[in-house]
Symmetry: C2
Subunit: 195 residues, 2 copies
């Protein structure tokens, strides 16, 4: 068995707070490991949102279906990032979103009751999640600025330049969806740039 | 002097965590009270973002200037809500945003170093801010869904129906800006609805 210090979640937590190996062994026990094949769903719309997910390996996206039945991506998560419908999770209600694996993916998941118990038992994780959500909220305000300020072409190239890992790993039609663009438009501006 | 239990910030904190009156007296000392006249700026673009603000009374908005010089609102804060450029605050960098009072406003403000010291001294506030940011982040994902899913008309009426206090207190052109609409468009659909 691997030493816990080699666990990516252990290393990740210790970038923000101090967790000993012994504490980590207990923290780890609050989580389940889920292996998801590419295209599999971790969460479905119109069902209770009772879990949050931490990506250990792979990539997922969260999307909803528009009235016309089109998938619209609102969030991605690569390694070391959290994803769920945090509002439905907080309120313990049904979600409007789906979460789907874009690659074969391994996530840690924790249910609401366990999450609350974990935070109670390890108050340093209140600090960890406070920092994570502070950054996530700040980033979402910045995304709003880009959506309002940039032309569609600028939005696309800004995103792919600032997040090259996404541009390499995530299919173009999902990046287009996340940025509020059509796949045809993205093909067009990419072709224009190449020529 | 009023008893601290009558302080709206005390009542607000105790909706999420348990703070005694004695603790509150100390917590209160980390903050400054700022009185802002309508239209006054609390934060300016291209300057360090070193403070977060809690609205005690009144209303503010955070906006940026587009390349064409138009103000675009990305966030509002009424009573009992926090506002700043959280990403610049976290990274301690310059901000791209302005924060301006929409009415005569009273805010509590805390600087970065004091905020960190406060969280260190009162770990229950890590929990408080974790919950606040979890809700704020979850709400921002939901806003993204509305922007992508709804027609412009639906966005406007959804917002004014769900947040009637904003619709009453905030000028229409700022609500339009926040929702990515033009003031002319909002006038048009409001007139259409009345007729």
């Amino acid at each position: 068995m691997k030493k816990s210090s080699a666990h990516p979640f252990f290393d990740h937590l210790n970038q923000f707070v101090t967790i000993s190996e012994k504490e980590f062994e207990i923290i780890r026990s609050y989580f389940e490991t889920q292996n998801q094949k590419k295209k599999q769903l971790l969460m479905k719309a119109n069902s209770p949102c009772d879990q949050i997910y931490f990506v250990l390996k792979g990539c997922v996206h969260m999307y909803f279906l528009t009235e016309k039945g089109t998938e619209r991506t609102v969030q991605f998560a690569l390694e070391n990032w959290w994803i769920t419908d945090f509002l439905a999770f907080q309120k313990q209600t049904n979600t409007h979103f789906f979460i789907q694996a874009i690659e074969n993916t391994v996530v840690l998941s924790v249910r609401y009751g366990e999450y609350e118990r974990l935070l109670h038992d390890f108050p340093q994780l209140e600090r960890y999640f406070r920092i994570i959500f502070q950054i996530a909220y700040g980033s979402s305000i910045m995304k709003m600025k880009y959506l309002f300020d940039f032309s569609k072409e600028e939005i696309y190239f800004h995103f792919t330049e600032h997040f090259p890992e996404f541009a390499q790993r995530v299919p173009q039609y999902l990046i287009a969806s996340f940025l509020g663009l059509t796949p045809e438009y993205v093909s067009e501006i990419r072709a224009k740039k190449r020529s």
